[in-house]
């Protein structure tokens, strides 16, 4: 029958081993040869776009890479689906965007910020998401 000290060893040993494997896999995932994100294409505009995305908590309604609020459309392939002009129109709208019945916060972005958001969403759209990009891409309709 299992003793208390054996149970403790199972807990401590199992935790240590799996944690070390987890760290090793994390290091492996972020080696440049395993990059699936075109990390070298992240420029000042993309970073500015990410800052705007976070400052306005866009993820609180939308999803991006499948993560977010499930209240507004997935943004992973939004440039492919809607095009740059449509995305900029929404971001620069002087009234809350709500053409399909669900209102968005009015952002009235200037050109610089709207361009940064487009750059950020374009970068997101080019990620290799292990197949999920095809599920949310217009190409997957074919």
């Amino acid at each position: 029958m299992l003793s208390k000290s054996q149970a403790r060893t199972f807990f401590l040993g199992g935790t240590l081993v799996t944690f070390l494997v987890f760290i090793a896999l994390t290091v492996y995932s972020f080696q440049p040869k395993n990059d699936q994100t075109n990390h070298d294409k992240i420029d000042a505009k993309v970073i500015r776009g990410k800052e705007i995305f976070e400052a306005n908590n866009c993820m609180g309604c939308h999803t991006i890479m499948g993560e977010g609020g499930y209240y507004a459309p997935e943004l992973t392939k939004v440039i492919d689906r809607r095009g740059e002009a449509f995305v900029k129109t929404v971001l620069q709208s002087p009234v809350p965007w709500g053409s399909r019945g669900r209102k968005m916060v009015k952002y009235e972005m200037n050109d610089v910020d709207a361009d940064a958001m487009v750059a950020y969403l374009k970068w997101i759209g080019e990620l290799d998401l292990n197949g999920f990009d095809r599920v949310v891409s217009p190409l997957s309709k074919d």
Binding site: L2, S3, K4, A7, R8, F10, F11, G14, T15, T18, F19, V21, F22, L25, T26, Y28, S29, N34, Q36, T37, H39, I42, I47, K50, F53, E54, A55, N56, N57, C58, M59, G60, C61, I64, M65, G66, E67, G68, G69, Y70, Y71, A72, P73, E74, P96, R100, G101, R102, K103, V105, Y120, I124, L127, L129, N130, G131, F132, V135, V136, S140
Partner: protein, 446 residues
Amino acid sequence: MKYKSQKVAYWFFALCMLLFTLQIVYGFIMGFARIGMDGLHDFIPFNTARAVHTNLLVVWLLTGFMGAAYYIIPEEAQTELVSVKWAYVQLVSLAVVGVVAIVGYHFNYWEGRKFLEIPRELDYLVVVNVLLFLGLILATLYKGKRRTTTALVLTMGLVFAALLYLPGMIWFDSQVTDSFFRWWVVHLWVEGVWELIMGGILAYLLIKLTGVDREVIEKWLYVIVGLTFLSGILGTGHHYYYIGVNKIWLVVGGIFSALEPLAFLAMALFAMYMYRKGEKSHPNKIALFWTIGASIVSFIGAGLLGFAHTLPQTNIYTHGTLVTAMHGHYAFWGAYAMIVLAIISYALPNMTGRKRYNFDAGHYAFWLANIGMLGMTVAFGVAGVAQVYLERIMKLDFMDVQNEISIHFIVLLLSATMFATGIVLYIIEFAKHGQPTDEALNMVEE
């Protein structure tokens, strides 16, 4: 209640009740917005309501865990808390940081990172607050007469929870890296160290309520938390399937997250077996209901419903849909909300001296809240499966699908009303117990 300083837990529990109430109010705002009733949009848009709803959940659960620790640790260590005054300072500062954060969300003062919306400046205050809390708990354990496994597991969970908050404070230029390390906080909290806290509280309650030998309960506690980490740490990989990192996570995450229900199954079997084995018939049946209920509902919510969409082949379609909301609601309710309500139900009569053990309102609260939450889970589930089929398979437009499934949110709101009624009854019972008193010290506990 054996130690005067345990009374401080009452005020943490009272803050829990307040924050929980607010969380439900914001949940209703979101539910009504989903059926087109968004009259508050100009003041409380959906992203604000969501940030408030989820952050209040995290804060009230953490407040409950802290209250539980202040109640359990003195009794387990057989000594008074090292400083009651500093515990109150910690409580007030926690409440102030929470209120500033929640108010700030209404004015775009946030980080916009799911579950970790608290702005960076307030993050530092959270760190100071948690360090103060841990200092008080660890110092109490250090000067205590005994160090039990229950107290150590509970404390280990709290220390790891504090450490794991730190990766969430690092800024990354890449959304992918940002998400990767955000899950170090969120996943390793809820499917890792919070389970240690839950296990610690559960073990304490089972020792008290069933009278089963401490050595037996604590041995199995080690096995359960061992299973939790064995599956949960590498199970983090199920969040990495489709966020732009290596395919190795499809294999690792798939295998280990499929094992995650084992820890919850073990917890449910453990609780039921100890209940049957126990020779003690504690009169506080309400606390027993919440305790055993937590172990069973957490297995269904976190274990089974998590397993339902954790394999990569399924998750590629369910990722980013309401299926996640289904699992999230029942998992948080069963694993964490119910265990906090269990320890409150157990501790309250002991702190106030009012043994309102078996009042009807307490039973109604339990059943209404549980049936209501089950209804909400089913509504989210049906809406989520329909969304997956229509949007991901049939390729209909997002808003067309949302309009199709909006009927399920009426069911959700009706169920939420039942749930809220249960919680209101629970809070009324809480209030009827009155405040803690020294007269309850060493009162005979059946």
